[in-house]
C-alpha cells in the first residue's frame, strides 16, 4: 500500500516538476508547482509526518503559490516566454550536462551505498515515538531543544516583512538611471525613454500615492 502511494505520488511529483520547467506560460508553471507540492504533502503523510503534510498544504500551496500568482496577475508579466531562442549559445546543453552529472553522482551514492549511504546512529533522546502524537512531539522539540532557533525565526520573518514593504513601496522621486555608454555601445536600445513614460502612467492616480504614504 505504501509502495503504491509512493509510486503514484512520485509520478505526479516528476510530471509537475517537469511542467514547472517546461511550461511556456508562467501561470501553467505555477499550477504544475501546486500539483508537485501537493504530491509531496502526500509523501510526507506516507512517511508519518502528519504536521508537515498539513503545513505544506497550507503554507506552500495555500500561501506561497497564491502569492506568486497574485504578483503575476498584478504585474501582468504572464506573457509567454519563447523557449526556442537561446540567449546564451550552448547554455542549455551545459546546464543539462551539469544536472545529469550531479544526478548521476547522487544516485550512485544512494544506489551503491544502499542503507549505509545514510550515516549516523539512531536517535535515543529524540526518537520518533509511536505513542505520542506527531504534533505533540514536534511542538515539544520546538519549544525545548530548538527554542532559540524558533526565536531567531521570528526575527527573520519580521525582517522579511519589513524588507518586502520597503522594496515594494512606490518610490516618490524615482529618477531613471541614465544608460551607461558601455551598454549602448553594444547595440542595446536605451531603456530610459520607455521607463519614463511607463512611470508617469503608473503615477497617474495621485490618490494611490497619498494612501501609500499615509500609513508610514
Amino acid at each position: 500500500m505504501e509502495t503504491a502511494v509512493f509510486v503514484v505520488c512520485a509520478l505526479v511529483v516528476l510530471a509537475g516538476g517537469l511542467g514547472v520547467v517546461v511550461s511556456r506560460n508562467p501561470v501553467h508553471s505555477a499550477l504544475s508547482l501546486v500539483a508537485t507540492l501537493f504530491a509531496i504533502a502526500v509523501l510526507f503523510l506516507n512517511l508519518g509526518a502528519q504536521l508537515l503534510a498539513v503545513v505544506q498544504v497550507i503554507v506552500y500551496t495555500g500561501a506561497i503559490v497564491v502569492l506568486i500568482l497574485f504578483v503575476m496577475m498584478l504585474l501582468g508579466i504572464d506573457q509567454e516566454e519563447d523557449l526556442d531562442e537561446e540567449p546564451i549559445v550552448g547554455q542549455r546543453i551545459v546546464a543539462m550536462l551539469v544536472g545529469l552529472v550531479f544526478l548521476g553522482a547522487v544516485l550512485a551514492v544512494i544506489i551503491i551505498g544502499k542503507e549505509s549511504a545514510v550515516t549516523g546512529a539512531e536517535s535515543v533522546t529524540q526518537a520518533i515515538s509511536p505513542n505520542v502524537a506527531n504534533v505533540v512531539q514536534i511542538g515539544r522539540e520546538l519549544f525545548t531543544n530548538y527554542v532559540f532557533a524558533l526565536e531567531i525565526t521570528a526575527g527573520l520573518l519580521t525582517i522579511a516583512v519589513v524588507g518586502a514593504v520597503v522594496l515594494a513601496r512606490r518610490p516618490t522621486d524615482l529618477q531613471p538611471i541614465p544608460e551607461p555608454e558601455s551598454m549602448t555601445d553594444q547595440g542595446d536600445e536605451p531603456l530610459t525613454e520607455p521607463l519614463r513614460s511607463s512611470f508617469r502612467a503608473s503615477n497617474a492616480n495621485p490618490n494611490d500615492d497619498a494612501s501609500g504614504e499615509g500609513s508610514h
Binding site: E2, V21, S29, L43, M96, V106, Q126
Partner: protein, 102 residues
Amino acid sequence: MTSNLPLAYLCLAAILFVIGGVGLLIRRNPLVMIMCVELMLNAVNLTFVTFGEMLNDISGQVIVFFVMVVAAAEVVVGLALVVAMSRRRPGANADDLRLLRG
C-alpha cells in the same frame, strides 16, 4: 521491497532537486526561477524527512519546519524584488539585470 522504499524517496528527491536546478539555470523569467528554487527546497525537505524516518529521529521533521519558514521569507523578499524590478523595467527578464542597479 519495503526496506528499499526510503532509498526510493531519496532518489526521487535527488531527481526533483536536479529538475529544479536545471530549470533555475535555463529559464529567464524571474517568477519561474523563484518557483524552481521552491522545487529544490522541497526536494531537500523530502530528503530531511526521509533521513529522519531512516534514523528514527524527530529532528528531521523539526528542521523541515524551519526550512519552510525560511522558504516563505525568501519568497516574500524575492517577489518584492520582482515587483520593484518590473515597476522600473516592465517585461524585464533575468538577462536585463546585468548592472544590478535596478
